[in-house]
């Protein structure tokens, strides 16, 4: 083969076009104070970063603050003026007030804030995925049928306290109460599986349906519920998942799952920042645009919702009214910093 062709053909096939003058993007990830990997928002942030890395290159710096003071300090360091292109991703309300204190001085970085609503700034995108409505519907789904919930009692398993989890729990509680039920909450430390097992068995004995509000606990809870049901076939406990469709893992046990897509927001923002298309602004998304939803296991749809005027509608008027009535009171009940 001629040297001429040998020199040029590889260039044509594998990257003749220069990548442009953009420097490598540095993504600084600031997890909620509770810590990385615990609870829904932290896991979603981790997943979003991992997913964005498939097929693209950027540098990741991770920060898991031990306290609110740490969180504010680490954010301030990330927002100090630096060379190069930086995207700061922060999760949780504490970062909203910290960003307000910066008075839109972002040091040349672009910022994505999840689950918080600071004042608008150039280069700042804040995203809140409203989870109250699907959680309310999950409460209705859990306790509306006597055949599924004869005791009208639901349990909630929360991995870590945080404002975004608390809002979900308020929604679930309001929905449960809307159909005449009650809710018990159990907070678990997934790092202590033996204690978790005993606590779960005890809770499973007491309730009809369990909401698992922390994906770290999914497998533990599934196992505990399987064991409970094998030993108590006359008193079967069912489950509702969070942030992934648990019914594809256990079709007969899982009534449905509340799904929020914070990971998609993280991934999209990283990819957009890479091509200079990051979109600042305040974004409130939720049930109406499919960013949060209640996935109902079709096997239970008729049975669980028979008492309600559901009839195939995604969120029919009666429930809409109920959600709107319940939400302000529940929001007010969420203490700052919860």
């Amino acid at each position: 083969m001629s040297g001429w062709l040998a020199r040029w053909l590889p260039l044509v096939l594998f990257g003749c076009a220069p990548e442009g003058s953009l420097s490598t993007l540095v993504v600084s990830v600031h997890y909620p104070v509770a810590g990385s990997g615990v609870g829904g928002l932290s896991s979603a942030m981790q997943r979003g970063v991992l997913e964005a890395r498939v097929g693209s290159s950027f540098v990741v710096e991770e920060h898991s603050p031990a306290s609110e003071q740490d969180a504010v300090q680490q954010l301030a360091e990330a927002l100090a003026p630096r060379q190069g292109r930086h995207l700061v991703i922060a999760g949780g309300e504490v970062y909203a007030s910290a960003l307000d204190a910066h008075d839109c001085e972002l040091g040349g970085s672009t910022v994505l804030l999840l689950d918080g609503k600071p004042r608008p700034c150039d280069g700042l995108r804040s995203v809140v995925l409203e989870g109250f409505a699907p959680a309310f519907l999950a409460g209705v789904l859990a306790l509306s049928a006597e055949s599924i919930a004869p005791r009208r009692l639901a349990g909630v398993i929360a991995a870590a306290p945080s404002r975004e989890v608390t809002r979900l729990l308020r929604g679930f509680q309001a929905g449960s109460e809307y159909v005449g039920g009650n809710v018990q909450t159990l907070q678990l430390d997934p790092l202590q599986p033996e204690a978790v097992g005993a606590a779960l068995r005890s809770l499973a004995d007491a309730v009809d349906v369990l909401l698992v509000a922390g994906d770290a606990a999914n497998s533990l809870v599934l196992q505990a519920v399987r064991e409970h049901n094998a030993q108590n076939p006359e008193q079967v406990v069912r489950m509702i998942g969070l942030d992934q469709d648990l019914s594809v893992r256990e079709a007969e046990l899982v009534l449905g799952s509340v799904v929020r897509r914070y990971d998609a927001e993280v991934r999209s923002s990283i990819l957009a920042a890479q091509v200079g298309a990051f979109a600042p602004g305040q974004v409130l998304r939720g049930y109406s645009d499919g960013q949060t939803e209640l996935l109902i296991n079709p096997a239970y749809a008729e049975q669980a919702l028979a008492r309600l005027p559901f009839d195939g509608c995604a969120l029919c008027q009666t429930l809409k009214d109920a959600v709107h009535q319940a939400e302000p009171a529940a929001e007010a009940a969420v203490a700052p910093g919860e």
Binding site: S2, W4, L5, W8, L9, V12, L13, F14, C16, A17, R47, L50, E51, R53, V54, G55, S56, S57, D215, N218, S219, Q244, D245, S247, V248, R249, E250, A251, E252, D263, A264, R267, S268, L271, A272, Q274, V275, G276, A277, G290, L295, N297, P298, A299
Partner: protein
């Protein structure tokens, strides 16, 4: 005259080479982006807490490790153990297989033989040649589900064999190297083939607004055969829906993010559903059926308020996905009437031009 003949031959070869590769979410090669691989790796990451990667499996030595490095390089994902790496490699080899069956993407005659085989179309969630009209949609979706289930059943059956028998050799092609056989863990390989069909159902069908249900299935065989009548045979397969563009500012390369994200979510659901089967439990049909009902269900037009069904006349029930699906339709290969292609394909055209110049220079020197 001789130069013209040789140039025409080179031109014809390149003409055949370009459209044949653009058949589904693309698989990685020298000319195309590894879209299937990316979708599958992301799905794997989403399902990772449930997928049993710490299996005490028999991991063989061999060429597969180097090939795995090649496949995983773009994913920036480092498997924690050799077992996980072997699992992922086998999964990705299976995902690639229906598009090249281990043969090079530039082996045009092989590609055409595979892709034009009417029985093969369901492995890509496309219409078979007899799937005509509205009923053809339902038949194609059923065929796709059948092809997918067949692979899952094979995965489950392979998993019941003793460990050494679960490792098999399958052909694999690297474009700059050729075809060779590599070791795969057969349960993951067959799961990969099933994932291919599921992922293709997002590129080869018009779906409902929430992307869960299928309203119309596209047609490749008759589009490249030159016999397609849209009202009868369905919408022609289009290369624009095959891309992995998530964020783009180029008008000629519109984003396919919604489809890609949905395909990843569906693939993650399927991985979760079959996770127990990978761990050795016989495949559970309720969970798999739930995934298929959730993501691969035919939704007739009547359910969407179109009593006449979803057809060309009503823009397939006013599908919001139609504009992209009509961009760069597949056309007869022998007619060489391809529409403009994306970046990878334009590289092929530039390669063709360079090739022609090279031929001309050699011919001139030889005179």
């Amino acid at each position: 005259m001789r130069i013209e003949r040789v140039a025409a031959l080179v031109s014809a070869v390149a003409c055949l080479l370009v459209p044949a590769a653009g058949h589904a979410f693309t698989v990685k090669s020298g000319l195309t982006d590894g879209c299937h691989e990316k979708v599958t790796v992301v799905a794997y990451l989403q399902a990772l807490p449930q997928v049993p990667v710490d299996l005490d499996m028999h991991v063989p030595g061999g060429a597969w490790e180097e090939v795995a490095d090649y496949l995983l390089r773009d994913a920036h994902y480092e498997p924690e153990t050799r077992a996980e790496k072997f699992f992922l490699f086998s999964l990705l080899t299976g995902v690639r297989a229906p598009d090249n069956e281990g043969f090079s993407l530039s082996n045009v005659s092989t590609l055409r033989a595979i892709h034009d085989n009417p029985q093969d179309q369901y492995h890509h969630c496309l219409r078979a040649v007899d799937d005509d009209g509205l009923t053809g949609n339902e038949a194609a979706v059923a065929g796709c589900r059948g092809a997918l289930l067949e692979q899952l059943t094979q995965a489950s059956e392979q998993r019941q064999k003793p460990w050494p028998e679960q490792v098999q050799k399958r052909p694999f092609t690297l474009d700059q190297y050729g075809t060779f056989k590599v070791e795969v863990w057969s349960p993951a390989y067959h799961l990969g083939r099933a994932l291919h069909a599921l992922e293709d159902s997002f590129t080869h069908a018009l779906r409902t607004l929430n992307l869960r249900g299928v309203v119309h299935v596209m047609n490749y065989a008759e589009a490249i055969g030159g016999t397609l009548h849209e009202e009868r045979d369905g919408l022609a397969h289009a290369s624009a829906t095959d891309t992995c563009h998530l964020v783009t500012s180029e008008l000629a390369e519109p984003s396919n993010k919604d489809r890609v994200f949905a395909a990843e979510e569906a693939a993650a659901d399927l991985l979760r559903a079959v996770a127990p089967a990978l761990a050795g439990v016989r495949m559970s049909s309720p969970e798999v059926a739930l995934v298929l009902d959730k993501w691969l269900d035919y939704v007739p037009g009547e359910q969407l308020g179109f009593v006449e069904g979803c057809a060309k006349a009503n823009d397939y029930c006013n599908s919001p996905w139609l504009e992209l699906a009509r961009l760069r339709p597949s056309e007869p290969i022998l007619g060489c009437g391809v529409a403009p292609f994306g970046r990878a394909d334009s590289r092929a055209w530039v390669a063709l031009l360079l090739g022609m110049v090279f031929v001309a220079r050699r011919a001139r020197r030889g005179r």
